[in-house]
Subunit: 242 residues, 2 copies
């Protein structure tokens, strides 16, 4: 039996990025619509973003199961993009430059409204690390463009394993030189919370009702078991440092 | 023959930390003097800091030559601390807690006057990475405590090789997904500039006359060959973005 969670135990926050900190769905949908329009193609950016993201978990799982070697998230995005362009019958309309720009859409995404200020408040009390399956370079550019005040960036690339693989979380605790129970994982995906809990981290489920856009239900706190449940970084800061 | 250096080529700065960005010598000397005094020992903190740092390059070189496995900078500092306490005949005066605090002195060091503002200016135009032989956790805490506005932290720990080993620089270029000639190494040590140049980086020697304290000469631009020579981050920002 692990001891009950106490906010006072926490010394570092491991904060997920896509969905938790930035609104990937709006950001990707808008950029897809925009790039498609410039190439004279009418495309529902939102539906395209959804289908693209749907391919993300199974693609990562193949890497984690060892069915293929480590590859960058950019590479996974590029592969699933090729599939999607064929499915939509628009493969001929997009040249190499357009495909490159579409993949790079994932490098520039808007922060959720509460993220910049909430993280800045949390950073006064804790080491606050961005912990994501994005590549190190992608995350560095994304975090910079969105003005997110992280203390450091820890990419799955450093573990050569994607969350929710245990090695992804163990690498975070090792790099921060902090025991897992003193690291609080903050994430809006139940699979990430589950992975972190199994690695011995504290967990805060952050509910993002619009994370998957207006037509799909977001992950729910009731589908996982977390030490804390909050609706934003401001609420998390209130809870940890009232 | 590599093409002549052009500031316009640069897209990322790899910035050394100890000596270049923070004044390790004053920081360590003050903390050693202070901790020693609390334990009733009179110790010349400056001379102690010098002797401690003298053991740093040979200790790292043994790791880089493969004579021992990778170890943290904290571990190297602890080992050389034990030696020094014996040499000074004060080993009995310092308990485990004191030794721990002495090693952690390297985690909290003052930034040079020009560093915070100069880095903030450079960060508007470039990815600015802290690139140091310190461990990832050490660097994260040091950078946070000193308020240094880096975009990301790249520790030698990620390469499992210390600068000036080529792998330490290659890892920086790979993680930033940036070709070596587009990365500018900024450092006050000629051995770091030499290592970066050999790895194909652009180089800016930053002269810190007081880096080794008042009694020892600092590294000189004339002892290396660098693309740029500056006296502070403000001058570097003026030069790259007049």
């Amino acid at each position: 039996m692990s001891p009950p969670f106490e906010p006072g135990m926490v010394s570092a926050l491991a904060v997920d990025v896509f969905g938790t900190t930035v609104d990937w769905r709006t950001g990707v949908a808008d950029q897809v619509t925009d790039i498609a329009a410039r190439y004279g193609v009418e495309l529902d950016g939102g539906a395209f973003a959804d289908a693209w993201r749907d391919r993300y978990l199974p693609a990562m799982a193949r890497v984690n199961r060892g069915e293929r070697d480590w590859v960058y998230l950019d590479t996974l995005h590029r592969e699933s993009l090729e599939e999607l362009l064929h499915i939509h019958g628009v493969a001929d309309a997009f040249d190499e430059e357009a495909r490159h720009r579409l993949v790079r859409a994932w490098h520039h995404l808007p922060a959720w409204d509460d993220a910049v200020e909430g993280l800045a408040r949390l950073r006064r009390h804790y080491i606050v690390a961005a912990v994501s399956n994005g590549g190190f370079a992608l995350l560095t550019r994304l975090v910079k463009a969105a003005g997110l005040p992280f203390d450091c960036i820890i990419s799955a690339e450093l573990a050569r394993a994607y969350k929710p693989h245990p090695r992804a979380y163990q690498t975070v605790a090792a790099l921060l030189d902090t025991p897992p129970p003193r690291v609080l994982m903050v994430a809006c995906h139940t699979w990430d919370i589950d992975g972190a809990r199994q690695a011995g981290f504290g967990t805060a489920f952050l509910h993002r009702p619009r994370e998957k856009g207006p037509h799909r239900p977001a992950d729910q706190a009731s589908d996982t078991s977390s030490d804390l449940t909050v609706t934003g970084f401001d609420e998390l800061a209130d809870l940890l440092h009232p």
